[in-house]
Every structure is written in C-alpha cells, then in structure tokens.
Subunit: 458 residues, 2 copies
C-alpha cells in the first residue's frame, strides 16, 4: 500500500447539521491518513497533482457521477447472529432468545462453524460500506479470536468483544460462563491476544470488555469486568435501558437505572458504547455525558425489541456521543445507510406520534425530528467520534476510511437530475445515499487507505 | 412470446397469513396465464415436462438458490415526482408542495421533458420487481399518454390517471385545470385514448379517473368525475384521510369525512383506490368495505407526511382490500419490498408506541402487529386483489406476473443457511426477501408471461 491521489466530488459531513459537496483533490499518505484536501482547480490542488506526477504517485480521477464519502461506522453488531439476519423477527422476544438466538450463538463453540460465517459477515459489511464495526462475539475465545483475525485480514477497522454472561437465572446451561473467575480470565486473555495479533501493530482491531447486559451477569462479574477494563485501559460495550422489561429488571435488582449501576461497576467511561439506551432519563444522559460514554442507536432493532424510540435529540442536547448500530440480527439490515434512513424516519414518528385515534396535539412529542444531514453524521463521524477514532470525515489528518459511490452504476436506484438540470444539493445527495443507495452503487471501499472492497477506481 | 415451462422453488403467498415454498413445475401458456403448477417429481409434473419436450416448448430449470415469486403491486406512485425520489423530505409539507412538487409537476406540460423521466421510472420499477403500478400522472394529456405508451412498450401492467385539480384556493395558477368543463373533457378524452392505444387490446394499461384530492377540487369537478367514472366504467384513484390537515379540511368543508364525501360524489366504488387513509374511522372502513373500494397503504410516506400509521389490521377486520404504495416521492423508495418491510415495522411501532416517557401500558395500541407473511401478501396479492387483477399468486389461472429471485447472486444481502444446515422456512425466506433483497437479487421479471426485465433464466 502506497500513497495516492484522488480527484473527484467529495460528500463530507462537515458537522452534524451541515453536509458539503465539492470537487476536491485528495492526497492520501502511505500511512493511510489524508495529507491534504484542496478544492479542484486551485493552485494548491495543482501543486499536489504536479508533485504526484513528478514522483510517480498514482492519481485516480472519478467520473462526474461518482463521489467519495466517509465510510460508515456500525457501533453494534452481534456477529454470531449473522446467519439469522433478516429472519425470525415475528417471534416474541423470549422465544427469539431461547429457541433461536442462544442456540445459534452456542454453536460458535466450534471455530470451524464460526470461521466461514464471520468471513462472509466481514466481507458483506465491507461491501455495504461499513469501515468501522463494533462486534459482540460469543463467550468462546477461539471463535472470537478468529473473528478478530478475519477483520484484520480483510482490513475492517473493528472492535471485538468476548461476551461475558454468567447468571444462571437468564443464561442457558450450555451457553454461559461457568464462573466469575473463568469469565474474567478469559476476557483478560482475549484482550492480550487481540492486541498481540500479528499485523495488528496499529491496533486496527481492538478488544472490548463486553458484559452482555446487566440481567445476564452477576454483580461479581460486572465488578470484575469494570476493574479489568480499568487495569487494561480497554474499551467497554454493553446493552443499556433497551426495553421496558430490561429497564425494569435492572431497577428492581439494582434500585437504580442501568447507567448508574454500570457506573458503580466502573463500566461507564470514555470509550464505553451503550447499545439502545431508549429508556434513559435526562439524569442518565447527564451521567453518560459526564463519563464521556456513547450511545449506539439501533432504530430498526428498537422497532422490534425495544418498544420505543430513543429521543436522540435529547441525548445530543445533553452532549452525549451518538452513533448508529445495525444490531444484527435484532435489526434486519447490514447497511448503516438503511439504519440512518430509519433513524430519520423513526425520529419523525416519535415527533408526530403514530396513533390516528389520538388528537394531533398529544399524539407525539415535539422537537424529536432529525434531518438527513444529521442522519449522515450519525452514520459516519457520529460513530467514529463515539469511539475516539480519527476518521469519519474526509479531511486532512483523518484516516482515509472511505466509500466511492457511483450514482450512475448499473442497477442503481439513485436518480440523477433530468438532463440539463443542475446537480442536486449536498443535502439531497446525502438523503439519496441514505435512502436509495444499494450495493451496486458501492464501487470501492477503503480503510486506512487500503482498498478493502471493490474495484480499483474509477 | 410463446408458452414455456419453469421448474424450481416457488414462494407463494397462499393467503394473508400463510406463505408456502416448494419445488414446482410451472406451465405458462402463450397468453401469459399459468396453465398448471405441479409439485416437482409428481406424475403430473413429469407429464408437463414430457409434453413440453415432445412439442419443443422451452423448459427453464432454476438453480437451488433461485426461486420464483409473484411480482409486486404498487398502488400509489406519483409518476412526475420521480426526479424528486429520495430528496427534499426534510422540507415542511407546504414548502415541499409549493416550492418543489407543484413546480416539478408543472414541467410535464412539455412531453419532451416527460418522456425520458417516465422511461427511466418504468424501467427502474420493473427492475425492482414491480409488475403492476398505479400512477398519478399530471394534468397534461400528452405527457400522461406518453406515460401510458411507455408502460405498454415495456410491458408494465399499469393504471394511469390524468390528474384533475381545479380549485384556485390550493392549486397554483400555472398548474391547474382552468375549468370544470376542461378537466372533464380532458379526463374523458384520456380514458378513450388509453383504451385505444395500439397494442393495448388486452387492457394491460388502463386509465383511471383521478381527482387529486378533495381539497384540490371543486364540488362541481368531483361530481362530474364521479359521473364520468360511472358512464365509462372507469376505475378511480384519489387521496383519502391522509393527514390531520387534509382530514380536518374535508370535515370543515364537507361536514363529513373523506369517504362519505367521496361516496356522495360517486367516487367510492369497487375499483377505487384510496391512498393513505390513515385517519379513517370504523364507520369509514365499513363504508369502504360496502363499496368494495381499496386502500393503498404507504407506510414510508406516512412517516413523513401523514403523522400517523394506518391501523391496517382494523381495515382488514372491516373487510377492506389493502395493498401497498410507494407514494414516490412522498415515500423515498421505488421498492415495494422496502415498503412491505416498513409496513411491518410501522405496525410494530403503532402496536408498542414510540415515546419512552409514557408507561408501556398506554404507549401504544394493541393488536396492530403484522407478520412478514402478511407483508408479502400486501406486496403481492393484496394489491392485485384491490385492483381486481387475476395475478399476485403463482397458481393456475393467474397471469404469470413474476420475479425470479437469485438468493446467491453476487452483491446479495440475502444470506443462505450455513453449510450443512437445512434451508430456511418459507416465512423466513419471505422475511429475507422483504428485508434484504436488492436489485442484484432480481434476476428476471415477467408480466403476463412476457420477460420485461433481466436475463433469460436461469
């Protein structure tokens, strides 16, 4: 992998509120970091091109209907549920867990079962434009390490968590940690093993301390995992205030909400990713903000398993980091774009309400809407920011984690303007990408400057 | 076009509740109607194959990961809003209409502008698996006839409506019928012209009487259109009880709900398609049932412009025909499958409610859920049934309006079972198709036995 230059339209989430589109000349260094980005036609851009020509650095020129944009960050994926994606959502939660999900996850005790599943998942996520992913694996060390290796081999920026779950009241006998000590030792070994993987010197793949959720873990395990994360300087992921059942369970057992309980166990820190968080109160959000932790908003999954929509704008107003999660297979789509569009749709439905039998004035709650520019931000920089990763915008100093979108690809549902009309606005193009982009549009994907999917451009 | 035989898996919506999957031998006659469908391996199936071999009738054999299913019916498309698909949904309704939608529709006064837009739309809908579509065109006769001709040329089963809208209070000066008499004469001419199109002897493309919606039409126009539809035996489409604003406007002007007003104008009959209908009461539904009219449910659009979710199960319980509409461009997706998945998701959100600040017991309304089998029915037979079309199931006597889905296509997001596992259930495959099918999976599409998109199978 060497340095290169790309010239073409760049769609960039400049801020949560504002998206820009302009022709740029982008210089990517041999380390995969964007060295420079200049408006095409300027003296600075010409200098980059001249220098590239002189030094024999490859220059790629995009076609007019092609564009570069940051890759997507998916903050919540249950990797072992991949074979169940797009299935079984008609089942009630208990049946879904006990008859389908736990037995499926238990099969990952066999690394030979895990390897092809994880291989297909990682390549499919990359093909959908995901450049950063956060995975719950299973309780099985070897399979989970296999996942880390596959991410590394394919170049997916990833966080992989060995799941810890030891409470016999909720976890099935054939799929739980036999003891607190075993779970803690396994998590510790896993952290070291991931960090020591050959080829992982730049920490492209990172371990995460991963208590499944409070109901699946004993107090002792939660306490031990908090201490382990602190000792290892390791990031953390778990589920938080997802549904009525889970939220009420934690309140009954702990006497407090999830956030306060997690905080007492040392599990609420900068670098903690809290999936769902629909039922967080204003106090919860203030605490999460104070600790620097983040929410993985999973709007599709929440429609099926949470019974509520995260009041995302309220979380932003409290200063909380928020990104998106597909929550495969509680969510049915591997596409962060689909989930970003659903985040905007769900926010509208929270804002206006659903039930036509109620009067308009009391049907919804106000100030919940999101724009598509905000959806794009959530899908990109919102996620990387939550993880403390220097990527998610195509700007100097950021890693070149990017997608080349071909709006004119055969098989595209993205419509270009009628002949003779000016091109769409940046906002409209952002919306089209979230709403109508399909795999045919995703031509090339890079992580840290390495081509990880698709054709060499253009 | 001649007769042919196809052997392979057939996914069939047997009823609203039940979907089946089996290997079948399907015999399609030269008239595009399914002559026979027999379970593969039976004596009857063998007889069909032997007969085909003897007479030189082509036989297509699908691969194991391929399947046939009925094509989709899209009951509500604003054809002139095609260039706006996936754009502008952040705008408030009034701005969306006045600054974007009406000016765009007004451009269809020029048939040279209309032709390439409609050409692209029809081919894209076919490529997404839509085999039956119901279009609002514009008030312009020549462009709307162009749309009918393009549907006919490409073989899309279509209903095309010349829009009627004459009320100066709502319609802009440059985009409305100048008088009742002009609007009625134009609608009458259009009905005759569509029916007389060369090549339309089998009425593949049908006209529809199309009052935009009550607020855009004077009483005189609505009355005249009702009489015209009766005189011509012509089907009808309009919007009905879509949003608080529209519903309240009609109640104020007419003193009754949309359905009662439409009925008084003679506009509520078997063959009438009522878009949206979110705010129908139980009495409205009973009236719609009594008249045999149908609802075009547009779940994506409703999230943005209706502010409520249609209580679809209630409509079914009242015996009302219900199909799906993309409502391009109020809805952002050209895919009926995407809208079917959204119908299931929105029904869940209506059932459980959205707002986590409300107690679970009062957050939603019960008995609103839909299964994915029901979503598939809505997307196929629900729609054709609403229109009185003998298609939508792959069974003898039905027109062969079908999609060949390749679950193993390159670029697929539909996941096959892990090696060695049995195949998924029919319900799971139906869900995968609604949730994860993309254009790469849609290999071939037929309408009335004619191949209208994609490769000759397999």
């Amino acid at each position: 992998m060497g340095e290169f230059v790309i010239c073409g339209h760049v769609l960039n989430p400049a801020s949560a509120r504002h998206v820009t589109m302009a022709r740029q000349v982008l210089h990517v260094g041999a380390d995969g970091v964007i060295v420079a980005s200049h408006a095409a036609g300027t003296a600075a851009a010409t200098a980059v091109l001249d220098d590239a020509a002189r030094r024999g650095v490859p220059v790629h020129e995009l076609a007019p209907a092609q564009l570069l944009m940051p890759g997507f960050a998916d903050l919540h994926v249950h990797a072992p549920q991949w074979p169940q994606m797009g299935r079984a959502l008609d089942l009630p939660l208990r049946e879904w867990l006990e008859q389908r999900t736990f037995p499926l996850e238990a099969r990952f005790a066999d690394p030979a079962f895990a390897a092809p599943v994880y291989e297909q998942m990682v390549t499919t996520l990359l093909a959908n434009g995901t450049t950063t992913a956060v995975f719950f694996a299973t309780i099985h060390e070897e399979s989970s390490l296999t996942l880390a290796r596959i991410c590394l081999r394919h170049g997916l920026r990833a966080h992989v968590g060995l799941v810890a779950m030891d409470d016999p009241a909720l976890c099935p006998a054939d799929y739980r940690n036999p003891s607190i000590a075993q779970a803690l030792a396994a998590s510790s070994r896993f952290i070291h093993a991931v960090r020591a993987l050959p080829g992982n010197e730049n920490a492209l793949v990172r371990p995460m301390v991963t208590p499944r959720f409070i109901p699946a873990c004993t107090d002792g395990l939660l306490h031990g995992l908090g201490a382990l994360a602190a000792a290892e300087g390791c990031m953390i992921q778990t589920h938080c205030s997802e549904s009525d059942w889970e939220h009420d369970y934690v309140r009954q057992r702990m006497g407090v909400n999830d956030t306060v309980a997690l905080d007492r166990f040392g599990l609420l820190r900068r670098g903690t990713v809290l999936a769902h968080s629909c039922f967080m109160t204003a106090e919860d959000m203030a605490l999460v903000h104070a600790r620097g932790a983040a929410i993985a908003h999973c709007p599709l999954s929440n429609a099926y398993f949470a019974g509520a929509v995260l009041p995302l704008r309220q979380a932003w107003q409290a200063g909380v980091h928020v990104g998106l999660g597909t929550d495969i297979s509680g969510g049915y789509s591997p596409s962060v774009a689909v989930n970003a569009a659903m985040a905007v749709t769900a926010a509208r439905m929270l804002d206006t309400g659903n039930d036509p039998a109620l009067p308009a004035a009391t049907r919804g709650r106000t100030d919940a809407r999101l724009t598509f520019a905000e959806g794009l931000w959530l899908a990109t920089r919102g996620g990387t920011d939550a993880l403390g990763i220097t990527a998610g915008q195509l700007a100097p100093g950021m890693a070149f984690d990017a997608i080349m979108v071909d709006r004119a690809a055969p098989g595209s549902n993205i419509m270009l303007p009628p002949a003779g009309d000016p091109d769409h606005t940046a906002e409209d193009i952002a919306q089209q990408i979230l709403c109508n982009m399909g795999r045919p549009n995703i031509r090339t994907v890079w992580v840290a400057g390495r081509r990880v999917h698709g054709a060499e451009t253009p």
